[in-house]
């Protein structure tokens, strides 16, 4: 069986925390501050980081549980986690419906009669809510949690295979990805179309993260620290950056040779385009080269806010989705000036850090026996949340 490293890698928490902040900023429509987020400077965005690190930590936490307590207990824990995320998703859905219903009742501009048709689903809530509970109806920006639920529900057998034959597990995951492209597999959505994050595609990044956690990264170390690979990664990031600039300065598009354009577009987020994977891998390679695992600054106060968010990722993610609704509400109802955008962004991140810190403190208090219940014996959770 593959070994599971014992000490949690703080870099994972740091970058997952940062990814959660970026997702929050990107989810507020028209947010001026979102120009700082990575999606504007290349092909991939914070979702790749989030899914990869989620796979890594899931393998880290449940891999140890599976080795200590066996397949059944570890699977039960994974499924319990999937259920928690499902409940969180339904909770966010309730907030979303409240927001939509408010807009439907208060806004009626003749310029937007077509756009108001998006509220038509409120006329048959029976169908809509049922489809939402089936994870087929997913409002805008609420696609990540259903993906995460599905990835976890399917994770126990994958983890079992990863612990026994990591290479075969990774190859089978990659094969599924290739077959998905070949046969155009995806899950159906409501009222039409398919899942925005195709689980058959995105599972690859999740499994790759898990594979890295279970010893794969040691095998790769020789490669990712080679000068050639780092050079290629920098070159690719530079290429992606140059292409990204043509999205904002259309006259630059004339400098992109037609064959390059034909080869790269469209860059498919739904099916996790290979260009996006390569962009994420390049970012990861540069990050690993720049930030060593034992970098002392990881324990400093500067990075603590992002790390604490990354350690409580489910709560922080849900809070981020809610705060992005609230932020958009402030833009429409109160003020839409640049200063408001900056304040909303900063306040939102501050609230995320505050709540994550509160959860951290509460868990610690519970562990010490100061909580309402006796401390739970949960050795598998010592590394934090998956």
């Amino acid at each position: 069986m593959a070994t599971v490293p014992t000490e949690r890698d703080l870099r994972l928490d740091l970058f997952r925390g940062l990814a959660l902040w970026l997702i929050f900023l990107d989810h507020i429509p028209s947010n001026a501050v979102s120009w700082i987020t990575i999606r504007n400077y290349g092909f991939s965005d914070a979702t790749e980081i989030f899914v990869f690190i989620s796979g890594y930590t899931a393998a880290f936490v449940y891999g140890r549980a599976m080795r200590q307590f066996g397949f059944i207990v570890a699977s039960a824990r994974v499924l319990k986690r999937a259920w928690q995320i499902y409940v969180a998703h339904v909770f966010l859905l309730a907030i979303y419906l409240a927001e939509i219903a408010y807009v439907a009742n208060s806004f009626d501009n003749p310029l937007y009669s077509e756009e108001m048709g998006v509220l038509d689903f409120l006329k048959n809530p029976d169908v809509t809510i049922f489809q939402a509970l089936l994870l087929k109806f997913k409002p805008v920006n609420m696609d990540v949690l259903p993906l995460y639920i599905l990835l976890l529900a399917w994770f126990p057998p994958m983890l079992w295979l990863l612990l026994r034959a990591p290479s075969i597990a990774l190859i089978s995951s990659a094969s599924l990805y290739v077959l998905m492209w070949f046969f155009e597999w995806n899950l159906p959505a409501y009222p039409s179309g398919t899942w925005v994050f195709n689980p058959f595609a995105w599972q690859l990044l999740f499994v790759f993260g898990a594979w890295c956690a279970l010893g794969g990264s040691q095998n790769l170390a020789r490669w990712i620290h080679s000068r050639t690979v780092i050079g290629l990664a920098i070159a690719y990031l530079g290429f992606a950056f140059a292409i990204a600039m043509t999205w904002y300065f259309p006259h630059l598009a004339a400098f992109v040779p037609k064959f390059v354009g034909d080869a790269i577009y469209p860059i498919d987020k739904t099916n996790l385009d290979v260009l996006r994977i390569m962009h994420f891998l390049s970012l990861a390679i540069i990050t690993v080269a720049l930030v060593p695992r034992d970098w002392p600054a990881l324990k400093s106060r500067i990075f603590w806010p992002a790390i604490v968010c990354g350690q409580h990722s489910l709560e922080t993610f849900c809070l981020g989705v809610f705060l992005s609704f609230a932020g958009h509400f402030v833009f429409t109802e109160v003020s839409n000036r640049l200063l408001t955008h900056i304040i909303v962004s900063i306040v939102g991140i501050t609230i995320m850090v505050g709540i994550a810190a509160l959860i951290s403190w509460y868990r610690e208090a519970e562990r010490r026996g100061g909580g309402p219940r006796p401390p739970a014996a949960r050795p598998g959770f010592a590394g934090g949340d998956a």
């Binding site: 429509p29 028209s30 001026a32 927001e99 939509i100 807009v103 208060s106 806004f107 009626d108 501009n109 003749p110 310029l111 937007y112 009669s113 077509e114 756009e115 108001m116 048709g117 998006v118 509220l119 409002p139 805008v140 920006n141 959505a189 009222p191 039409s192 179309g193 398919t194 925005v196 259309p250 598009a253 354009g261 034909d262 577009y265 469209p266 987020k269 739904t270 992005s324 609704f325 958009h328 833009f331 429409t332 839409n336 000036r337 640049l338 955008h341």
Partner: protein
């Protein structure tokens, strides 16, 4: 959002050129610049007979008894007729709300045969985004429609979705907007970026697009400006070598 500093800068850019349009429309003129020529339109202008077919969904119309008269297709016809002296301008609009791109393509052959246009102006994207139509199918529908128009001897201009700040958190326009941009680039046809134009108006405070008003005044002004900018856009693309009638570059 970018605020009040951009407005003077843009006005300086615009200079005295767009003198004939209201200032509200003119601030967005730099965004309404075509990147590809329209050879069929140029030919039609030379022949003094210019037929345009506008195909669109709900955001190409206005409600009310004067809705047709004030919506951008009719405004476009008016502005073109006023400025292209001696040219017979005829705009036909096939506009029905809640139509996806694929549904519009189905109606297209009959429309093209009936009107024999030199130009198809195709507004789409919003309904597809609301129904979350498969983006691949959306792109394919765009390609089919553009090819149909080309083989009927018409140039094509695509118009993307409106900027609608209130419903922004509910309609995921992103993929569909990118697909339209990409298809336009690949087919080498101009895209009239209505989204960016209206967004600029909103950012500058030119029009209050957040307003929960039931009144039609802002909607009519927006459509009037869209019609005017579209007229400049088409003429500039048809006659790149000449100064167009309102001087947009």
């Amino acid at each position: 959002m970018m605020g009040r500093w951009v407005l003077p800068a843009l006005l300086v850019l615009a200079g005295p050129a767009w003198a004939e349009h209201p200032a509200e429309c003119r601030v967005a003129a730099p965004l309404a610049v075509s990147s590809f020529p329209l050879p069929q339109v140029a030919r039609a202008l030379a022949a003094k007979k210019f037929a345009i077919l506008v195909v669109g969904a709900g955001s190409s119309q206005l409600p009310g008894s004067n809705g047709v008269k004030n919506a951008y297709p009719a405004r476009l016809q008016q502005v073109l007729a006023d400025n292209l002296s001696g040219v017979e301008v005829k705009v036909t609009a096939d506009v029905k709300s809640k139509r996806t791109a694929a549904e519009m393509v189905k109606a297209l052959p009959a429309d093209l045969t009936a009107t024999k246009p030199a130009l198809l102006i195709w507004q789409t994207g919003t309904t597809d985004a609301m129904l979350a139509v498969d983006p691949d199918q959306f792109s394919q529908a765009l390609d089919r429609g553009i090819n149909a128009a080309h083989s009927a001897g018409a140039d094509v201009v695509l118009i993307n979705a409106q900027y609608s700040p209130r419903t922004e958190s509910m309609i995921a326009l992103g993929t569909y907007a990118e697909d339209m941009r990409w298809v336009a680039l690949q087919q080498e046809i101009p895209l009239f970026d209505r989204f960016a134009i209206m967004r600029l108006w909103s950012d500058l405070g030119t029009f209050d697009l957040y307003s929960a008003t039931k009144k039609l005044d802002i909607a009519e002004q927006v459509h009037d400006c869209i019609g005017r900018l579209l007229a400049d856009f088409v003429i500039a693309a048809a006659k790149p070598e000449e100064q167009p009638m309102n001087g947009s570059r």
